[in-house]
Amino acid sequence: MKNQKHRIGYLLFLVGGLMLSATAHALAKADNVPTTPVVATPASGGKAAEGKQATKQVKKSTADHTKFKQLQKDFKNGPQVTKACLECHTEAAKQVHHTKHWTWEFINPVTKRKLGKKNVINNFCTSVSTNQSFCSACHVGYGWKDDSFDFTKEESVDCLVCHDTTKKYKKLPGLAGHPNYKTMEWPPHSGKFREPTDLKKIAQNIGKTSRDTCGACHFYGGGGDAVKHGDLDSSLKQPLRYLDVHMDAKGLNFSCGKCHLSDSHEVTGSRYAPTSVDDKGALMRGKTSDRNPTTCVACHDNAPHKEYAKLNDHTDKIACQTCHIPEFARGDKLTKMTWDWSTAGRLDEKGKRLRVRNSAGQVAYDSKKGDFTYERVVIPEYVWFNGNVKFTLFGDKVDGSETVKINQFMGGPNEPDSLIWPVKVFRGKQPFDVGNQTLAVFHTAGKDDAAFWGNYDWEKAMEAGMASTGVKYSGKMAFVETEMSWPITHMVAPKEDALTCAQCHKENGRLQNVAGIYMPGTGSTPILDMLGFAVALFALIGVLIHGGIRILTSRKEA
């Protein structure tokens, strides 16, 4: 009998052992979940860099630009600097002329439609047309103030905006792409003044592009820090590891160009025609290829998960970004989430511009622009995406009856080139021309009478804006709800902060709104479950009744 008990114990030992060790393992793992700071503090990566420079090192560049005679001049303006640059870098401007940084045009490879900043209408400041002298603060050129701008002039290329290393070079809105050459009050009416730009010093200290130079425009898209993209803002200038594992100022410290490999001034990576799927493995150095080198796969390969190989099984459906960028705007900046133009133009009792701030100090209402909302650490929306983005361009039919998708990420569950991507969806309300049934181009910025930001008169702003497109304003405008999607692909978190399995594999998980996928763990087969458990319960009740009768009948006999 002892032996027998011992053997019964064996079963209990097996089941109990399995359960206990598994539970212990699960609990131990739960304890080890790293806690990440919610509020970012800017990294002091600068110190590390200073330390490095202090120990005398050989300069990385083979040219010391302070020694060049061409640059030992007092330049009066930007184009003069460019001319000096071109004396040695003879082909540079011609190269830049081919890029979309210069043309602000992009032809969609699938639809052949003309996109690019010059042509699309977004739901932030909406369109460039008639507002060039402001927008061109982010153009790699000098002097684009209206349609008469000469795109073939070499000295109009702005070398400094990308190659400055002094952080002193700043193109200001309203100056048609120029920095200030004279002392200037900035921001307007602030009482603060910017010294004239020291072109000589900046020119003598040019270098490679950096997070600062790329960020000077790309962090401030949409009219301010963090406004537009959600995954690009000034917190990436000196990010901590948790914010961006690659750009980590104390770690890998990537520049933008580390991923956005460039050749002949052509920078790779594009949100107009993103690479949705890259299934061709890591891109070997030296191998000639027309592949986009800016993808995750180009470095990490298609099966990068070594510790937990099951994760590799997800890469046929899910973009890397979906798990590895769990939220956007994870820095200390809030990104704009909505913009309602329809309330713009409301003034105070004195007829002056109103600006109302929310509790976080953000401008929640501005007479010039309307109502805004902001968010930080935002969970993206998830969509199937095959790399083709369909835009609603000027002239495409808009009748105000439904929300206009300014751009639409194409793709679906059964398309081979489609993956599930995270996106920021920016929602707005903006003018459309009722008579012409099109999203409106309206005149916002300028010192003239028609600019909305001066006179708050929609009719005049519409008249002038529409005229610039060659379409006469119908005389009737209204506001339409719009949505614009932005691929989330920056601010890649360290692996310990990536999504965990259960953030999707549960009821109402992250991907609950994505069509066409079967996801274990979501309780997505309620009928089968109900039937299965019902029959099991029926069996259980059956044997209990049977057993009960056995007990009763045996007692009777006893």
């Binding site: 053997r7 089941v15 393992h25 739960a30 099991a536």
Partner: protein, 197 residues
């Protein structure tokens, strides 16, 4: 009362190891399916997969053992006395009627057991096993020309198999108490010795 030795040492080891693994896999499996939360999804998957490989290893030995010892003959189905068995479970068992089946070492399963275990062997297990393999290697199915299978259907069959196993499990555990004393069969499965009239 005589005692016969019907369950060999390996057989008992097989039975109880398999019992433990199946219970554990049902528990972790229904968590993966989303029926409840206990280990956490990621852990449940890890444990379930690990147990799957353990049970596969166990089965390699069990199949070898069953074939080489000739014990496979124990699963040859018969309809003889099935009606008597059913009648016994429906009435006789309550009136202490004699068991219609006599166990011997060459015929240790009663006709209902033969049918039930054969059903497990040729229906429930294959459903679970094949859908399980497909599930485990879902992303590489195109290599063997099965890329067209959807995860939804693979999972469906795996869950159907799991429910069948759960129902078998309930009936099996209960009927294990249906010997001449409630613990008789269970003791036999532990010691190997069955007491018969």
């Amino acid at each position: 009362m005589t005692r016969i030795y019907i369950f060999k040492r390996f057989e008992r080891f097989w039975h109880w190891s398999q019992a433990a693994l199946i219970m554990f896999m049902m528990f972790s499996g229904f968590e993966i399916h989303g029926s409840y939360r206990f280990f956490g999804f990621e852990n449940a998957v890890t444990y379930h997969t690990f147990s799957a490989w353990m049970i596969i290893a166990l089965w390699v030995f069990a199949v070898f053992w069953t074939i080489t010892t000739g014990e496979w003959k124990q699963y040859i189905p018969t309809m003889e006395k099935v009606d008597a068995m059913l009648k016994f479970y429906l009435t006789g068992i309550f009136t202490d009627a004699p068991h219609p089946f006599k166990q011997t070492t060459v015929s240790k399963h009663n006709p209902l057991q033969r049918l039930a275990y054969l059903f497990v062997l040729v229906v429930i297990n294959p459903i679970i096993w094949f859908s399980g393999w497909l599930y485990l290697f879902y992303n590489d199915l195109s290599v063997v020309g099965l890329g067209g299978l959807s995860l939804e259907w693979i999972a469906f069959f795996h869950v159907v198999g799991a429910f069948m196993m759960l129902i078998f499990f309930i009936a099996h555990v209960y009927l294990a108490t249906a010997g001449h004393t409630p613990m008789a069969h269970i003791k036999a499965m532990v010691t190997g010795w069955e007491e018969t009239d």
